[in-house]
């Protein structure tokens, strides 16, 4: 598979703030690449550098095997993007906006093509309405139509589900899957809705404070044999002693908070549950931590589970 994006040692410094710090990653053709990080983690800065809106302080970016700095126009012809919220000309209609950006993208679109594009994003019938009358969701749909009008090979979406209702979020998810699976596009998507990424991404990169925390496929990151279990009882000290004397001893993880941590295969959970109840230690909760959201929060805030996942 061809490398569509290849980022090497990318850094961006804003005066005393390091927004992106020595970031390297590769996106292969056909990937739906989930780019995760908390607010201020450096996601938008990285995306803006991928789109030449921001000049990197250090490092290189290659798209389609070409250096971004020296082949900017050639590369951007093959890229469609939405950065943060999709803003268009409010005094123009949806149709006029789409036509204008199609022209800028170097595409000669017939009325039929433009209407088809608007239809695809569910804006048929509203094409003559000024964008200032549109809801955030409608603007987002129009933004997607604009980013796809020139049939790009790579689609970069920065928080594409922002401001959308549940139906809109589902529509975007389906559209991303359609673009990837049916049309063979490579999609680079950042989102704070982590469960969305979990459902669509073939690879995930998590960054924090501009640095890469972890990268891998969904399977690698959520290996069921590496499920972390958080156990809380009325007497954790006594429970720990019991665990150390039991068959669960080898699953115990270093304790970083008042709760107890164990690492095991997800299939072992019912047996653990049964055992703990039998010990009569007053079980408050027994929670498996295996979703991307948990993983994401753990690695970007307390980081207490990172070691467990990277053992």
């Amino acid at each position: 598979m061809q490398d569509i994006i290849k980022v090497s040692a990318l850094s961006k410094q804003f005066r005393n703030i390091t927004a992106v710090d020595n970031l390297s990653f590769t996106v292969k053709q056909g990937d739906v690449y989930g780019f995760l990080g908390q607010n201020g983690a450096g996601k938008s800065t990285t995306i803006r550098m991928l789109l030449t809106l921001i000049t990197p302080t250090h490092g290189t970016i290659e798209l389609f095997g070409l250096d971004l700095r020296s082949h900017r126009i050639e590369i951007l012809k093959q890229v469609g993007a939405i950065i943060e919220k999709p803003d268009m000309y409010k005094y123009l209609s949806a149709y006029e906006n789409l036509k204008l950006f199609a022209k800028l993208s170097g595409v000669k679109c017939t009325d039929k093509m433009l209407m088809h594009q608007l239809e695809m994003v569910g804006l048929a019938g509203r094409e003559k309405d000024k964008v200032k009358t549109f809801s955030q969701g409608m603007k987002q749909r129009l933004g997607i139509a604009i980013s796809l009008i020139h049939d790009p090979k790579l689609i970069i979406l920065d928080e594409p589900t922002n401001g959308l209702d549940p139906q809109g979020i589902a529509d975007i998810r389906n559209l991303i899957l359609h673009l990837s699976r049916e049309m063979g596009k490579t999609v680079f998507v950042s989102s704070h809705l982590l469960n969305e990424i979990e459902q669509i991404a073939t690879r995930v990169l998590i960054i924090d404070k501009g640095k890469k925390i972890v990268e891998g496929t969904a399977e690698e990151l959520f290996d069921p044999s590496q499920t972390i279990v958080e156990l809380d009882t009325l007497n954790n000290k006594q429970c720990m002693e019991l665990l150390q004397q039991s068959q669960w001893q080898q699953c115990l993880q270093p304790q970083r908070s008042h709760t107890l941590l164990l690492k095991m295969h997800r299939d072992q959970l019912p047996a653990l549950h049964k055992w703990v109840v039998e010990q009569d230690v007053g079980v408050i909760s027994l929670q498996p931590r295996h979703t991307l959201e948990d993983f994401f929060l753990q690695v970007t805030s307390g980081k207490q589970y990172v070691e467990a996942f990277t053992d």
Binding site: R48, T52, L53, T55, I73, M88, Y89
Partner: protein, 291 residues
Amino acid sequence: MWKLLQIELYKIFKRPRTYISFAAITALIGVIQLGLKMDGQAYVDFLMNSLKDNFEFDGQILNAYLVCYIILQLLLIHVPLLIALIAADMISGEANMGTLRLLLTKPVSKTQFILAKFLASSIYTFILLVWIAVFALAFSIYLFGTDDLIIQKTSYVVQIAENDVFWRYIGAFGFAFLSMLTVTALGFFLSLFAENSIGPIVTSMSIIIFFTILSTMTIPLFQKIQPYLFTTHMVNWKEFFDEKVDSQNVVIPGSIQNPQKIIDSALILVLHIVGLVSASIFIFKRKDVLS
């Protein structure tokens, strides 16, 4: 480039704000013309009061050429604000709307993008001046008719024959375009540094007012820097309305008293324009789009 220019012009003329300038100009000129039509003779009598003891005037002093001259003197001070409304919004307005980042993700050269935007605002400036010319000159010709143009300068009076005036107006409007283009370039340059258009509009006007004050004050310190201020040269469209006289003190028809002054001023304005646009390109190409 042509495609980018078309898009920029399309955007300018689709915006309601663009037409505020045209409406304001039409209203202002209309009010001046109405005032002069209703009570213009009293105004002319007041202007010529000091001359009436020594000269005898016949013909129509209050004619289209004088009306146009009065309008230009009044308007060319205020037109920069109307130009700044658009020019200072060209980049900052896009940043404010959030469209700048979307535009720059399209396969467009940043240099061409800036040049197209500047050219589009220059075309707007040109159309605005043509609009002023049509209303101030053509409509005045319809309302007041034509005759010789009599202008009172500080220490002398200029009388330009009726058939020698029109080309001077073409020259004056051409020069005024260069002056206004400097304002366009200034507003455009300042629009690079802001994310809403109010800051660059106010800054443009403040610079013009500040420089105009420096250009007109006869203090030796200021006089040293006056030749370098664009505001000093912006008013030199008036040089088209000063004739040369021969050794017998007879006016030479079709002449300009100091054409070199016009050429020098035009060159200085062109230098300002080229400098500001080049600086805009240089800065924009290195600018991080964070809006």
